[in-house]
Amino acid sequence: MELSWARVTGTLLRRTALAALTVSIVSLVVFAALNILPADPTTAALGAEATPEMRAAYRRLMNLDVPPIPRYLHWAEGMLRGDFGISVVSRTPIGPELAQRFALTAILGVGSLLLSVVLALPLAVRSARRAGRLIDVTVSAAAIAVSAVPEFVVAIGVIVLFVSNLRWFPVSSNGIIEGDLNALVLPVLTLTLGAAAYVFRHARVSVVETMSAPYVRTAVLNGFSPARILWCHVMPNAAVVVVNAVALNAITLLSGVIVVENVFGYPGLGQLLVQALVANDFPKIEAVAVVTTTLLVVVNLLADGSVLLLDPRLRTQGAGARR
């Protein structure tokens, strides 16, 4: 069992290639969906009542007279340079708006992710050590309930509790733009609950399984303190599971972000996407879709990389068979 960094590099390169392929495919599909699939893109964007002048102006603005393939290449090349085009509704460059929205979504996503791990891990360890007792059954049941229902149902529950009954927080999170941190509470809470339930379920199973492993029994028989066994023997294994859970959770978290931003009016990428969809702002839809996908595959790549760093078993020869 010899460590093989060549294998690690190979795996990471393969994953990076897959990530680049994913972004390219999504950009192709999005471009085709908005430019090639509609019989007349001007009708799709402007509606059936558009006048010929409006249509002509729109065709010029969107370069619609250029054939699709050069148009796609031109657009994709612009994206790579960081030129996201101009909104056809507000006539302003999309890039700066995207950057601001991106920052707000990142705060929401990273905050919820960190909080969920902080909340779920201690609970998972506690539940695992008292498996089958009241605390374990209660927390596990709550975790199942939260992870089984759609995010918007959780959001409605949060609103009913904290806005309608307790009146603690504003229901609209638009105030975040003015730096009102109260606006962050409900969206973060909703996302954290969902992510924490997911991390809890995975971490709990992992800790229960690890604690019954022969090497932990050996550590107990050696007379090590429970804390040492937990932190030096059990948790390194649980960490792998948690990072994996976070990675698998990234896609779910993204759809959660889209839902939660729209429920609470939080001005992030998810709300921007829905606003652009409603306004038929095609360049903006394309830009948000590509940026969000890129964000997602980068998160996945980082998680893959961390798992490789955390779990030496994946770095050894013959590890391919285990995955």
Partner: protein
């Protein structure tokens, strides 16, 4: 041969799950027959509280909320069920063949599945709705195609592990056809895995499709659909919370019920694997 129905309710979680699913099913199936009003009929003053004629009050257009809840389960059950059936049809066959044959075909199918799985589905559906519209067929097809690669993976792995067993080799030596081996030898032995996965996927499909409906990208007004109803009643949560809460609870009951049934089967499978490895 294990009896899956009795296994699925073999523990407390499974029984609670069955109860929740049955409640949602009964409401959905009998609902339209017992509903006091049509779900689209404007029958009273708007935003009324609960009363004798309108047990759950009326909504922002003066429609009976109870009737809308009773009508609103069909799309929540049928669309995910069709989507999961499509995913299992597509993914199940590909996974069986890839797992049994192995080699180049397996490589091709697995890589394809990897790529499809890395694409964020909600984002894609939101964009595809523009040229394709929001018909039921689009919802079912996109959800089904999104789930298919996951089914491929699981069926492939389960099939590949069953195929190393002696009874499959024996069937091959007897000269049985591939289709016959897959159907008579492999399928019965991966039924448990498939059932647990089926219930879990149904859970995810319910989440996915109700979310699309909630965001206004699926079933359109004036249809009654629990996801759509939650969205429409959202603005009145402080004043008339029942408009949103009741359909939200129905979605919750159905989703949690299906999830618990899936868990119960998975627990049984895990226990059996442990036992057989201990022997």
């Amino acid at each position: 041969m294990p009896r899956w129905p009795s296994i699925a309710v073999g523990g407390m979680p499974g029984r609670v799950g069955l109860l929740l699913v049955v409640v949602a099913l009964v409401v959905t199936v009998t609902g339209p027959f017992v509903a006091p009003f049509r779900h689209t009929a404007l029958v009273g003053p708007i935003l009324q509280g609960p009363s004798v004629t309108h047990a759950l009050g009326t909504d922002q257009l003066g429609r009976d909320v109870l009737s809308r809840v009773l009508y609103g389960g069909r799309s929540v059950l049928l669309l995910p069920a069709c989507a999961v059936a499509l995913a299992f049809g597509l993914g199940g066959i590909l996974g069986l063949v890839a797992g049994y044959r192995g080699g180049r075909l397996d490589q091709l199918v697995s890589r394809g599945a990897d790529i499809l799985m890395s694409i964020p589905p909600l984002l894609l559906v939101m964009v595809l709705v523009i040229p394709l519209g929001t018909s039921d067929v689009v919802l079912i097809a996109t959800t089904g195609i999104w789930f298919a690669p996951r089914i491929v993976r699981i069926v492939r792995a389960a099939t590949a592990s069953v195929c190393t067993k002696d009874y499959v080799l024996a069937a091959r030596v007897r000269g049985e056809s591939t289709a016959s081996i897959l159907w008579h030898e492999v399928t019965p032995n991966i039924t448990g895995t498939l059932l647990a996965e089926l219930a879990l996927r149904l859970n995810y499909a319910i989440i996915f499709i109700t979310t699309l409906n909630f965001l206004g990208l699926g079933v359109q007004p004036p249809s009654s659909d629990w996801g759509l109803m939650v969205s429409e009643g959202r603005a009145f949560l402080g004043h008339r919370p029942l408009i949103s809460i009741v359909p939200a609870l129905m979605i919750g009951a159905l989703a949690i019920g299906v999830n618990l049934l899936s868990d119960q089967i998975a627990v049984y499978l895990a226990r059996n694997v442990q036992q057989s490895s201990r022997l």
